[in-house]
Amino acid sequence: MNVSGLMPGILPRLPPGWKVSRRVVVERLYSLVVADGFERRGMRRLHVLYANSIRVARDTSLNMVLEALENDLQRYTATATSEMTFLHAGVVGWRGRAIMVPGCSLSGKTTLVREMLRLGATYYSDEFAVVDDSGLVHPFARPLGIREDFFPAQTNYTAENLGASTGVKPLPLGTAVLCSYEAGARWQPALLSQGQGALELLANSVAVRCQPHQTLRRLQKLVEHAVFVKGARGEAREAAASILNQSCAEEGWGAA
């Protein structure tokens, strides 16, 4: 950084669970060049962020550049970590098991996670399911990035802002919910086989191309006792209630 005093704004943007390292050699070095305060006619004041020697972001808004830092750090963590497998998915804890909502951006997974939190679930993540060698799902509890009415800009909320608590303990996967939003659709999901479900998770594995062995091994452990359901959902509130009810019902998803 070419100016001091920015760290308080950067620390909340570091990936959940970050720690200070004493290592002198780093794998990725970020450089933030903040534009000086002098206005010059016909010139835009641009703040620039580099990762190693590659420019990651350049914008007149420092906040946007810090947002790029946050996104890039999360993406890098998800790709470079070999001890864990990162799946692109929202996760909540419910009755001792994880409910996972895999999906790409704008698929509505954060909305569904938010509704499940309102109904009493515990927050684990709205972005990544982090899976260890035993197939347990760890929290990656960054603030929920909520897009209001599909406006591209996000507003961040902590789980506590939404009246929910954040999970700490790793959980086995109970249910994986594969859904897409369809206006007016009634949530009537179909059950998927374990293999089909694992394939869907593979499609949301961040680092499968560079870590295929670990990814497949951890997926096999992850899905051992999991149920997979797939379907179109209408309003998130209705689907969330149904998912939580059926995830803990004795007859489970057999009646779905």
């Binding site: 593979l202 997926l219 096999q220």
Partner: protein, 157 residues
């Protein structure tokens, strides 16, 4: 010659069993495949030493049901289309899925072979950044790092 005629499973793919299904990851093409029980059983028997008739016979013994050769042909077609077999030089005409179903009859004892495939995502595809042509308000939101200011759309990358 024998290798060209008899189906042989590729050995350079990763595979893991999920119940009676098999998940196969093609390291060369970065494609994942899910083989249902019938396709998986057929794939396991593709050792380059058995033709479809012999595979059908072995499957019949393993599963204790009569497995028609057309089922095996259908499985081989799907496995071939998914590039999970060592390429055969001259592909032969095989019955379609519809013909195979007709031959099996309605009350089949085993599932029709099915191979489902997906292309493995790149890290950017499997992350919550906005892809090209999606609406944006800043560069930071785009996977490409470039939000075109005039149209507020992610471009490049």
């Amino acid at each position: 010659m024998r290798e060209q005629q008899f189906p042989r499973a590729r050995q350079d793919c990763l595979s893991r069993e999920f119940g009676d299904e098999v998940l196969v990851y093609d390291l060369q093409r970065n494609v994942g495949h899910c083989l249902n029980s019938t396709a998986a059983a057929t794939w396991r028997l593709c050792d380059g030493n058995n033709n479809s008739s012999q595979i059908a016979g072995t499957l019949s013994r393993q599963l204790s049901v009569q497995v028609d050769e057309s089922i095996v042909q259908l499985a081989l077609d799907q496995l071939g289309d998914a590039h999970l077999l060592v390429e055969r030089e001259a592909p032969t005409e095989h019955p379609s899925r519809r013909v195979a179903i007709r031959r099996m009859g309605i009350a089949a004892a085993i599932a029709l072979p099915l191979v489902t495939s997906i292309i493995a995502p790149t890290p950017a595809q499997a992350a919550s950044c906005l892809h090209n042509l999606q609406a944006c308000t800043s560069n930071a939101q785009c996977c490409s790092g470039l939000c075109a200011p005039a149209v507020h759309t992610c471009v490049g990358g």
